[in-house]
Structure formats: C-alpha cells, structure tokens
C-alpha cells in the first residue's frame, strides 16, 4: 500500500506564480524519499503542501490511505523538522520535545518516559532542562529531531535540516538521521539542494526543476541513467560531461570529426553526448583532450580542460601522472549517454 500518494498536485501562489506543476508520485511505507533540485524549484512548496502549511491548488494528497487535502497540519499525523529548527525559545528542551504529545492528551507519565527515551537516543539527556539558546547548533538540530520522533508519526518531513551546520557536523548528522530513520522505519520525505545528501540518504530521489519533476529513481538510476541533461548536470560532483556532437556519415562525431559511436546513417543533426568524468579513460583512444588544470583531491585527481573546444572533465586515480597539455582520451561506448540537444531528454 502506498503510504503517501500525490496525484497531480499543483501549486499556484496567490500572485499567480505556478511553483509546482501537476506532479504525481507514490511513496511506499518506510521509504526515505529525497526531493532535490536547485534553489527556487519548488521543493519546499511541495513539502509544505504535504505538511498542510500551504494550500494545495489542485490534485489529491493521501497519507496512509486517507485524503488529507483539507486536514489541519496537526491532524495529518506528520512531524516536520525545519531548516532553522523552529524550536520554541521559551521552553526547555524537555517541554519542546513533549509539547506535541501534551496536546494529544498523552498522560504525563508517558510523555516523560517518551521524552527521556528520545533524548537518550539523541544524546540529549544532559540538556533536557536547558533552553534552546543554551545549546549548540548541532544540539538544537537534535532537539528538532527529538520533537519529531517522540510523536511517532506516520510521516517525517525534513526541509533542509542540515544546511545550517558546518560540513563536519553535517556529515555526521546525515548518517545519524539516516540510521535513525532505518531503525524507526518511518516514511520520510527529505528536501535538500545538496546532491551528496540526496545520493547518500535516499532510497529514492525525486529531482525537481522549475516546479516540474525531471526524474524519479534510486540514487544509482539517477546517477547512471539520468533522464535529461538537467539531471545529468545537477547530480554528481563534478557533474556529467555534456559535449555537443553531430550525427554524420553513420556515426556520432565530435566537431573535430572524431567518430565516437556508430549510428544509423539515416540520422542527421545535432546531439548531446554525456559521459561521467570517472568513465573517461586517459591515455587511450584518439580523442584529443586539452588539459588546462589539474585539481588534486588526494584520493583522486580531476583534469579540467577541453574536448573539441567544449569544457570537459576527467577523473583519474591518484597515481596517474598527468600534467596540463595535450592528451588523448577514450570515451567507452557503454558509458556514453545520448540526449536530444533541443529538449534535453535522453534518447
């Protein structure tokens, strides 16, 4: 049974701006779905419609088999973690975590027990009597998590919960949140614009662009078979190389004339070639690669340069000797993706 189901959900803001075009997808019980996309693509809008903080312009939203379009946020059986934590500044950590339970007529003893339990799980036991202002960013983040898990909701919603933390803490919390979610088995929707978070945390990724769903798939599907040039260039660091090429004389040829792929002679016209930097083989084949810059990353190196006058990046392991200058590369056929130059869609 689908735990959450969106059916042609659309959002038009009062000023007439269509932030989310009709979008549909289902989320299975216990699944961790990440909504990812560039700033302003409508991730938060979509999440907030699911939370009930924003009206749904049209479409159907079901949570646990119940239509909830017009149900109050408090009655949707959801919990949300906000980007700036949104803790109640005047309440202690204990009351912050317990507040949602108190309003659901939970007996006092049970609230206390659940709060202690959640605090223990999140290493917050020593801070229960502090106010949020007396906590570090990471601890506030945990309190926000505690407030969500203590309620034992049907659905967790996260809106960029880690973006206010420093890089190290972010990595640590990322792992903790994922582990916690697996352990509790609660269906989760997680919004981020960080594709590393998306890749590492998601069971399934929904890539959004300008209010439209570009692709839905597992991290591996999204990475290895992007459905469009947008997904190809958004996911992955560095992103997939996109090179303009032509169908010509029964082959896909780079502007310099090098044939990289056989093709039916009937096809003509421009095409976009995609290849991940780590699939490029340096020192083989006969495609000329002009390296301008070598980026040393410790475990590996990135060679930035041009192929046929177009920007191109290759990824090589750490002991490959490479210096700026003229090189040759092989673009293995199996690793090549072809996109329609006009629409950006995969062929």
């Amino acid at each position: 049974m689908a735990q959450v189901s969106l059916n042609s959900i659309r959002k038009v803001y009062p000023n007439g701006f269509e932030a989310v075009t009709p979008s549909s997808f289902d989320i299975k019980d216990g699944e961790f779905v990440v909504l990812v996309g560039p700033s302003g693509c409508g991730k938060s809008t979509l999440l907030r419609m699911i939370a009930g903080l924003e009206d749904i312009t049209s479409g159907d939203l079901h949570i646990a088999g119940r239509q909830v379009n017009h149900v109050d946020p408090a009655d949707r059986d959801i919990a949300m973690v906000f980007q700036n934590y949104a803790l109640y500044p005047h309440m202690t950590v204990r009351r912050n975590i317990g507040y949602g339970l108190k309003n659901r007529k939970t007996p006092k003893a049970e609230i206390d027990r659940k709060v202690e339990e959640a605090a223990a799980l999140l290493n917050l036991s020593d801070y229960l009597d502090r106010k949020p202002s007396q906590l570090s960013g990471g601890q506030r983040q945990r309190v926000a998590m505690g407030r969500a898990i203590v309620r034992d909701p049907a659905l967790f919603l996260f809106d960029e919960p880690l973006s206010n933390l420093d890089a190290k803490l972010r990595n640590q919390m990322r792992i903790e949140i994922k582990a916690l979610q697996k352990r509790l088995g609660v269906t989760s929707i997680y919004v981020t614009h960080d594709q590393v978070e998306a890749m590492t945390m998601a069971d399934r990724i929904v890539v959004l662009n300008a209010g439209r769903i570009e692709q839905i798939g597992t991290p591996s599907e999204i990475y290895h078979s992007p459905a469009s040039t947008f997904v190809a260039s958004f996911m992955g660091a560095p992103p997939m190389n996109l090179v303009q090429a032509q169908f010509q004389d029964g082959a896909v040829r780079l502007p310099c004339g090098t044939a990289v792929l056989d093709a039916p002679t009937s096809r003509r016209g421009p095409i976009t070639l995609g290849i991940r930097p780590e699939d490029v083989r340096l020192g083989q084949g006969q495609t000329a690669f002009d390296v301008h810059l070598v980026e040393e990353l410790g475990a590996h190196r990135l060679l930035h340069g041009q192929i046929a006058g177009q920007p191109f990046t290759a990824h090589v392991v750490k002991d490959t000797i490479a210096s700026p200058g003229a090189h040759v590369v092989d673009l293995p056929r199996a690793a090549l993706a072809l996109f329609d130059t006009q629409t950006g869609a995969r062929l």
Binding site: A51, G52, A86, P89
Partner: protein, 293 residues
C-alpha cells in the same frame, strides 16, 4: 565588540556637555528645588518660608483626601493599563492575521502611530461632549444622564475611557511588531504540534510576546500615572470640585491653585521616588529574566 578608548578625560566630558546641561537645567535642578521646598512651609503670598522638617510629609500621610486620591490613582492606573494592553493585544492579533507579509498594510497602520495620540485624545473628549457627544447620547438613550465634570463616577469613567483610547494605538504598534518578529517557522511548528488556535496563542505566541508586554506594562503604568495629566485636565476643565483626580493632578491643584508649594513639593518627591522604583524594577527584570535569544 571592540571598545574605543579616549586618551584624555576632557573630550568625553565635552561631548556629554550639551546633553548633561539639559538634564541638569530641566531635571536635576528643579528636582533638587522640589526636594528642598518640601521641607519648608511657603507663605501663600510669597513673604518668605519657614523650615518645617518632615511636616509636609506627615501631613500627607494623615490626610484622608490624599489617601482617597492615592487609592483612586491606583485603581485608575490598573484599569487604564489593563484595558490599554488587553485591547491593543486583541487588535494586534487580529491585524497580524490579515497583514502577515503584506507590507503596504503595515505602513498604513504605522501611520496610526504618528497621528493617533493627540487626535485620539481630542476625539475621545468629543465623544463625551455634553450636547452632541455620541457617548453622552448613548447613555441618555439608556436612561442615564451622563454629566461629565460634575458626577464623580461619570467623570472617572470618561477619564479611564479616554486614557485607554489614547494609549491603545501605541500599544497596538508595539504588539504588532512583536507578533511579526515571531519567526514564521515557530508558528508553523506550533501549527503541527497543537490543533487548537487558543492553545497555540497561550503556549507559544503569548510567552514570546512577554518581553514586549513587560516593556509596555511599565510604559503604560508610567503613562497612566503621569501622562494622563492632559486628559484629566481637559475633562475636569481645571475645576477639581467633586471630580476624581490622580496624584499628579493633585500636585498641580495644590501647588498652583492652592498655593501650597511645600505640600505640593512633598507630593512630587513621593512621585519621583515612585518613578525611580518603577525604573529600577524595569531594569532588573527586563535585563535579567525576560529574554530569549
């Protein structure tokens, strides 16, 4: 923060001079005069004065009328403060719902702040105009002959009403900006945690408004005690007669109408001590407790 240091003592003193001289000439000097003359019995016709020690103060303590006025002042202050704050809060909460995010509205309402106090006071007095004031008429239609400035309780009622009327816009603006400074996400978190709107108000909004509310409480008490002088003067038209009045007005009546400068000074000194106490109280509490950052 980095502190800048002065190399000499003269520059800072020089820079403070204009402000200091104003305070000294218009505040400390008259205050000292008041303290001094509170120990003297002034001849009503200006022929010298006699040192009487604390007699002016002990006279006040034994004066039944003074105690009655003090008591009235307490009740008056409590009523004005309570209703000014409560009404303003109610209006601010309603307005906040409408104008969340809409900047043009906010600017419109801000104008009230600049215009309201004098105009509101004037309009308030108009409401009780003996011949055509709408409130006077309303009372008439209820069978009560409302006579401002003659009937004690009628005058007291008008004093409270006009004072509240004048203060509500000020409180409203402060409450509104207090409400608007509550982060949107905190309200939204509450929306998910609590389905009852009144529950959310008392558990989240109200406590977060407490710093604003406390600040306004002190401001309003001070207002009711001192700044209502103009309202009272307009309403009783300088004819104390059987009318209610507050301690500040009594200072004026005794000093300038009764020519009892000594007694009047003693009353001012008492009021100064009261202001001092309020200020200390405000600093202690505001600085220490009600802060959530």
């Amino acid at each position: 923060m980095k502190r800048a240091g002065f190399t000499t003592h003269w520059l800072p003193i020089l820079l403070l001079m204009p402000q200091l001289s104003i305070i000294i000439v218009f505040f400390y000097w008259p205050a000292a005069e008041a303290v001094q003359s509170s120990f003297y019995l002034e001849d009503p016709f200006g022929f010298g004065s006699t040192f009487v020690g604390l007699e002016n103060y002990t006279d006040l303590a034994g004066n039944a009328e003074y105690r009655r006025i003090a008591w009235f002042t307490v009740i008056f202050t409590a009523l004005v403060t309570f209703f000014s704050l409560a009404l303003a809060l109610l209006l601010a909460v309603k307005a906040d719902k409408v104008i969340r995010g809409a900047r043009s509205y906010r600017t419109l309402i801000m104008w009230v702040y600049a215009v309201a106090p004098p105009v509101a006071g004037f309009v308030g007095v108009m409401l009780f105009n003996q011949s055509w004031g709408p409130l006077t008429r309303a009372f008439q239609s209820l069978g009560h002959d409302f006579v401002l400035g003659v009937n004690y309780s009628d005058t007291a009622f008008a004093m409270v009403l006009v004072s509240v009327w004048k203060q509500v816009p000020v409180n409203f603006i402060f409450f509104l900006s207090g409400l608007q400074s509550i982060p949107k996400s905190v309200r939204e978190a509450a929306l998910i945690d609590n389905r009852s709107a009144s529950g959310r108000f008392w558990d989240v909004t109200f406590p977060l408004l407490a710093p604003t509310g406390f600040f306004l409480l002190i401001i309003n008490i001070t207002y009711a005690l001192f700044d209502t002088f103009g309202v009272i003067d307009t309403l009783v038209k300088g004819e104390p007669g059987n009318n209610p009045m507050t301690l500040v007005y009594k200072v004026y009546v005794d000093g300038f109408r009764g020519n009892d400068l000594g007694g009047s000074s003693a009353q001012s000194v008492i009021l100064m001590v009261l202001v001092l106490a309020l200020t200390v109280f405000q600093f202690r509490l505001v600085e220490r407790r009600i802060h959530y950052t």
